[in-house]
C-alpha cells in the first residue's frame, strides 16, 4: 500500500525534476538545515531555561510567549522543506532505517510537546520565576534528547550503509521493509 504510494510518488514528473535538479534540491536542503537551526536552537534554549541552565532571570512566560512563536515558524518551514526533500527521493527514503527512526522521534517529540502544553504549561504563572516543577524538567530533558536524535538520524539519511540494495541483516531488512527482490523498486 505505502510501497505503491511512494513508488507512484517517485515517478511523478515533479519528483523526478526535483531529484535531478542542479540547484532546487540543494536550496531546499539548505533551507531545511536553517529551519532546523531555528526550531531546535530556540526550543533547546527554552528547555535549558526549564532546567535552570540558561536565561535564569527571564520569566518562563516570557520564554514561552516571546520565543516559542519562532520555534513554531522554524517547525513549519522544517516540515514544508522536509516534505519536499522526501518528495524528491521517496522510495529510498521510505526504506531508510534512519528516516524511520527519525519519524518515531518526531512523533515522540510531538507527544512530549502536547503533554507539556496540556499539563505543565497551563499553570506557568505559579512558577514563572520560581523553581521549575519536576514534570517540566522531565519534559525538557525528553525534548533535548528527542530533537538531538532527530538531527543525528536526519543527517544519517544521506549515508547508504543500510540501503536495501546492499546485503543487510534480518533486522535491517525487516525494519526498512526491504522489497523481496532488491533493486526492483529502487532507483
Amino acid at each position: 500500500m505505502l510501497e505503491h504510494f511512494v513508488t507512484w510518488l517517485g515517478d511523478t514528473p515533479w519528483s523526478v525534476g526535483l531529484h535531478e535538479s542542479l540547484y532546487a534540491y540543494t536550496v531546499i536542503e539548505a533551507a531545511h538545515v536553517l529551519a532546523i537551526t531555528l526550531f531546535v536552537g530556540t526550543i533547546a534554549l527554552v528547555d535549558l531555561r526549564l532546567l535552570g541552565a540558561a536565561f535564569r532571570d527571564a520569566p518562563m512566560s516570557q520564554m514561552l510567549n516571546r520565543i516559542l512563536p519562532w520555534t513554531v515558524i522554524g517547525f513549519a518551514v522544517m516540515i514544508a522543506t522536509g516534505l519536499l526533500l522526501f518528495y524528491a527521493i521517496p522510495v529510498r527514503t521510505f526504506h531508510s532505517i534512519w528516516f524511520r527512526t527519525k519519524l518515531i522521534l518526531l512523533l515522540a517529540g510531538a507527544v512530549n510537546i502536547w503533554l507539556f502544553h496540556g499539563r505543565v504549561q497551563r499553570d506557568v504563572a505559579r512558577w514563572d520565576l520560581g523553581p521549575t516543577p519536576a514534570a517540566a524538567k522531565v519534559s525538557a530533558v525528553i525534548s533535548l534528547c528527542v530533537w538531538a536524535g532527530v538531527i543525528v538520524t536526519g543527517r544519517m539519511i544521506a549515508y547508504n550503509w543500510f540501503d536495501c540494495d546492499k546485503p543487510q541483516g534480518a533486522f535491517v531488512k525487516a525494519y526498512a521493509a526491504c522489497p523481496a527482490i532488491p533493486g526492483v523498486t529502487l532507483p
Binding site: V33, T37, L38, G41, L45, A54, D57, A58, Q62, I151
Partner: protein, 156 residues
C-alpha cells in the same frame, strides 16, 4: 612552502588519516557539528531578536547577551572542535572550493563582529532602534553566510 602544500600537509596528518580511514567517524563528527550549529544559532537569535524588539522584551539586551554568552561560547567551541578535524581530513579538496573560502572569510567576520563589536553595541543601542536593527541584521547576515556556504561545501 605554498599554501597548497600546507593543505597537503593537513590532509597527511594522523587525525585526517584516521577520519578518512573510518566509515563512521566523518558522519559522527558531522552530526556533532550540526547539534552545535543548532545551539549556536539559538543563542545568536536570542540576542539579535532582542535587539529587534522581538525577543525577551522584559529583559535588558545586555542581560540577554550575558545569559546567552556561555552557551554561545560553548557551542562555538564544539563547532571548532568538530569543524577543524572535518576540514583537515579533506583539506586538499577544500582548497579548490570557493564555498570553503567564503565560509572561512564570513566566519572570521562573524566572529570579530560577535565578540568585539556586538558585545559593545548591545550596551549602547536602544532595542528596536534603526541602529539595533542594523546590528541584528548584520549579525544574522554574517552567520547565515557561514551556514549556507558551509552547506554548499557538501554540494560543490
Amino acid at each position: 612552502m605554498s599554501l597548497f602544500h600546507t593543505f597537503e600537509g593537513f590532509e597527511a596528518l594522523g587525525v585526517s588519516q584516521a577520519i578518512r580511514g573510518s566509515v563512521w567517524l566523518f558522519p559522527a563528527i558531522e552530526a556533532l557539528h550540526l547539534l552545535a550549529l543548532a545551539t549556536l544559532g539559538g543563542t545568536i537569535l536570542m540576542v539579535d531578536l532582542r535587539l529587534m524588539g522581538a525577543g525577551l522584551n522584559t529583559q535588558p539586551t545586555v542581560a540577554v547577551e550575558r545569559d546567552a554568552r556561555p552557551w554561545f561560547l560553548g557551542a562555538l567551541a564544539v563547532m571548532l572542535a568538530t569543524g577543524v578535524p572535518l576540514a583537515l581530513s579533506e583539506a586538499v579538496k577544500l582548497y579548490d572550493k570557493p564555498s570553503f573560502w567564503v565560509k572561512m572569510a564570513a566566519l572570521a567576520l562573524a566572529l570579530a563582529f560577535a565578540l568585539a563589536v556586538r558585545v559593545w553595541l548591545v550596551k549602547r543601542v536602544e532595542a528596536g532602534s534603526p541602529a539595533a536593527w542594523a546590528t541584528a541584521m548584520l549579525s544574522l547576515t554574517l552567520w547565515l553566510t557561514v551556514a549556507v556556504a558551509g552547506r554548499w561545501i557538501g554540494f560543490s
